[in-house]
């Protein structure tokens, strides 16, 4: 079974630039999550999708962050414009809908904002 795929693995941008991350979840997983992990902290949920609908985006900074999952499979997370404090690892995870809360994580995208 293929795992959660993410790209790119690393990205360096200047502040005020925009950036996008891509995630392909495990086949058959209806629930998809985006987490932000700042150095020295645990992952923090940004947004949760069930198929292509948003379940929870209460911690997503909506003035600069956006995410979509148009066909209920792949997802993209965008930051525009980026700030220095957005430097973090962005993790995508997926799980079965209605399944136990065992979430499967991708390798993450390490973003550095200069």
């Amino acid at each position: 079974e293929a795992g959660v795929a993410q790209s790119p693995r690393y990205k360096i941008i200047e502040k005020r630039q925009s950036v996008a991350f891509w995630c392909n979840p495990i086949s058959g997983h209806a629930t998809l999550y985006w987490y932000q992990q700042i150095l020295g902290q645990g992952p923090k949920l940004l947004i949760q999708f069930q198929n292509n609908g948003v379940v929870d985006d209460s911690q997503l900074p909506k003035d600069r962050f956006s995410a979509e999952r148009l066909k209920g499979v792949d997802s993209t997370l965008k930051i525009q414009p980026a700030k220095l404090e957005d430097s973090a690892v962005y993790l995508c995870a997926s799980s079965y809908a209605g399944g136990q809360n065992e979430q499967f994580f991708g390798p993450g995208t390490r973003l550095t904002v200069l």
Partner: protein, 113 residues
Amino acid sequence: DQQVKQNSPSLSVQEGRISILNCDYTNSMFDYFLWYKKYPAEGPTFLISISSIKDKNEDGRFTVFLNKSAKHLSLHIVPSQPGDSAVYFCAASEGEYGNKLVFGAGTILRVKS
């Protein structure tokens, strides 16, 4: 406001001995708890979980204990192996199915051979 706390940033253990990683939580609505292991440049991988209806769950060398009255859980690894060296995250959720996870800051475990 940290709802899940791992107060030990790091732990060093001799190979073959027991590793005990601790986690405290403040939200009484949490009723499902998980431990994840993370190697450098990889995403977290699920290790073991426990529902609030239990006080212990065992899987091979890994055992998780839950003390609901103290809002405390711990992960025991016996015997510890060098390959166990990683960052361990405690996570909690309200409900066992399809709910967001709230993570602690993690504990770096080093197992010395």
